[in-house]
């Protein structure tokens, strides 16, 4: 199967992550959650791929496993042609610098006892990218401005920030390293639409100027449509559709994708009050266990 470009920056094959956990009351029977199940996709250099889908379908898990923050249960991850699936921590470090992450939960990602300025500067120091104190604070101040934060906030602690301000601190840290790939897990959900526009413009500038690629995990499908080159749709751990953005929006093939697109809220009160999303019933419409991603038109794959 070739779900895309010839020389991908990131290539994921048959990736799986299963969790077992103690079940109900008093730790009864344990059960298995297939958080991700046989996922394959590629991201080309400079490409922005949107990852959308059901809440709980495995989007964040995909991000964490690709970054090797968690070990996969199976499958293969290649970055720039190198197999990093089982690379030991020491050798992984060189790749870590090229792959940055913006976590979904902005508060959990921050260190509560570190000022946000130090938090943003930390990777720059670890990788020896700044030499003096003043260079460091200039760099951090510039990053703060890029994400729409007052540089005077550098000396504050995370609990003094609003939700959207925390999210921007995390974005500043991720772009500080000028990585080749950013995995951004719902990075703009807590921002007002003007600051969302500012961050998305920044992502696009970095993509164009430095050739950064992104895995953009999001629920805001209007923004996905605006920003992404291709879109992948997940449902209960499986990738059900992947295609160029306009193909997903104009010609969705999987019933789940169709239902999802029909539920996008429209910023127009008269339309929005009257809208009735298409129903999707997982039990009767779920993909068969042996379904495979099949190319239905050039670059457009559906799990059937």
């Amino acid at each position: 199967m070739s779900t895309s470009p010839t020389n991908p920056l990131l290539s994921v094959r048959n990736l799986a992550k299963h969790y077992t956990s103690g079940g109900g009351w008093l730790g009864g029977a344990s059960h298995l959650v297939k958080a991700i199940d046989d996922i394959s996709f590629d991201i080309a250099p400079r490409e922005i791929v949107g990852l959308v889908g059901e809440s709980g379908s495995g989007k964040s898990t995909t991000g964490r496993v690709v970054l090797r923050l968690e070990e996969p249960t199976g499958g293969e991850i290649r970055f720039d042609g190198h197999d990093i699936t089982t690379l030991p921590a020491r050798e992984l470090k060189a790749f870590r610098r090229q792959m940055q992450v913006v976590f979904q939960d902005p508060y959990a990602a921050l260190n509560p006892r570190m000022t946000v300025g130090d938090f943003v500067a930390e990777p720059l120091i670890v990788h020896g990218l700044v030499s003096s104190r003043s260079e460091r604070s200039d760099r951090v101040a510039a990053l703060f401005k890029q994400v729409g934060l007052d540089p005077r906030f550098m000396t504050r602690y995370p609990h003094e920030f609003s939700g959207g301000q925390r999210q921007r601190v995390n974005i500043a840290r991720a772009v500080a390293m000028r990585p080749r790939l950013i995995i951004a897990d719902e990075p703009i959900t807590a921002l007002d639409v003007s600051i969302q526009a500012q961050i998305i413009n920044l992502f696009q500038d970095l993509q164009q100027e430095l050739g950064m690629a992104y895995l953009f995990i999001a629920h805001d499908l209007s923004m996905v449509r605006y920003l992404c080159h291709r879109v992948a749709v997940m449902l209960r751990g499986r990738l059900v559709e992947i295609a160029p953005t306009e193909a997903i929006f104009s010609d969705p093939r999987h019933p789940y994708t169709r239902s999802l697109l029909s539920a996008i809220p429209i910023p127009n009160p008269a339309i929005e009050r009257a809208r009735r999303p298409l129903a999707f019933d997982y039990e009767t419409q779920k993909p068969a266990p042996d379904a495979v991603l099949t190319e239905v038109s050039p670059g457009h794959f559906v799990l059937i």
Binding site: G24, S55, G56, G148, G163, D192, Q196, I200, N201, L260
Partner: protein, 337 residues
């Protein structure tokens, strides 16, 4: 009929080593029973702090209620003893917090947290409370709820945790539901189901709702009234149709211009409001948005405009503006043409 909630001149500050942060400045509004108020606005404009302050939930110090009253069914929440307030929270006022990981207890299972809350506010015994807890998780569409209720918060996805928060918020069928960015981590299908559930609550129990969000599509569908905040102040407030069709504050207009529409896709660039957010250490004497507002008049810099009826719009459409945005936009179109 007296309003269910009346906020009068609420002003909240934080005393920090860097100076005093003026987070909420002189916010006043009233909410009728059964009404749904959508609050949108700048990130950092005091949306969360003002609702947290209403329910006695900001840390004091560094937080400080500088002034104001919050009348809920006629009683001032700000002067109520902590115990009485605790009974109201989670009972008559249901709260869905913006940050699930800091409000859920990481070392207790979801089941423990839900059951304890239900038992505190109802007469249900342990078994009935557990059944109700599972029912709530099903209402918020957690698959396999009876099994997953025994798990810990970190074993849930971001959106599943958010749904636990929503379940907690509605557990006791509150009179007032305050939801702060409650559906940001949900896919649009589940989000639509949650919004339908809120509409059902309104219909069946007459629940009043404050819905804080950045999603203009969501407020368009759920809100009766919209309130736009900037720099700790209300810039505009009015019936949802009027705000979308005929915004009168330059800030609301700027927000609507920033949406990723088909037009913007064709242009390849999103509009963002120029300039930087207001300095909350040194609040402006005038309108906090004036420095970023291309339509601002000299008076805007010097004097904060009062929130008053927007001329020529529907009753209840209020705006804090010294000048006439529609006229300014029209003049601009004419000079361009």
């Amino acid at each position: 009929m007296a309003p269910l909630l009346e906020v009068r001149n609420l002003t909240v500050a934080f005393d920090t080593p860097g100076g005093t942060v003026h987070a909420v400045n002189d916010v006043s509004y009233a909410l009728n029973e059964g009404e749904t108020l959508g609050i949108v606005g700048e990130s950092g404009s005091g949306k969360s702090v003002h609702v947290l302050a209403m329910c006695g939930l900001i840390p004091r110090p560094p937080g400080r209620i500088v002034a104001g009253e919050v009348l809920f069914q006629g009683r001032d929440l700000l002067t109520l003893p902590e115990r009485a307030l605790r009974d109201i929270r989670g009972g008559q006022i249901g709260f869905v917090f913006q940050d699930p990981m800091t409000s859920l207890n990481p070392v207790l299972t979801v089941e423990r947290q839900l059951v304890e809350l239900i038992r505190r506010h109802t007469k249900l015994d342990a078994r009935a409370a557990r059944a109700r807890a599972i029912e709530l998780l099903e209402i918020v569409r957690i698959p396999d709820a009876a099994r997953r209720i025994g798990q810990y918060p970190h074993q849930f996805s971001g959106g599943m945790r958010q749904r636990v928060m929503i379940a907690i918020g509605v557990a006791c069928r509150p009179k007032l539901l305050i939801a702060d960015e409650a559906t940001t981590a949900l896919d649009v299908t589940v989000q639509a189901q949650i919004l339908d559930m809120v509409k059902d609550l309104k219909r069946e129990f007459g629940t009043t709702v404050i819905w804080i969000t950045h999603d203009m599509g969501v407020v368009a569908g759920i809100a009766d009234t919209i309130q736009v905040m900037y720099g700790g102040r209300i810039m505009e407030r009015g019936p949802v149709d009027a705000i979308f069709a005929d915004p009168r504050s330059a800030y609301s207009w700027g927000l609507l211009q920033s949406l990723p529409t088909a037009e913007r896709r064709a242009e390849g660039r999103l509009h963002q409001i120029p300039g930087s957010p207001p300095d909350l250490y040194k609040p402006a004497v005038g309108d906090p948005f004036a420095p970023r507002n291309v339509f601002a008049t000299p008076r805007c810099q010097l004097e904060m405009p009062p929130l008053r009826q927007a001329e020529g719009s529907v009753p209840g459409h209020l705006v804090a503006a010294w000048y006439d945005l529609p006229a300014a936009l029209k003049a601009r179109r004419e000079t361009v043409a």
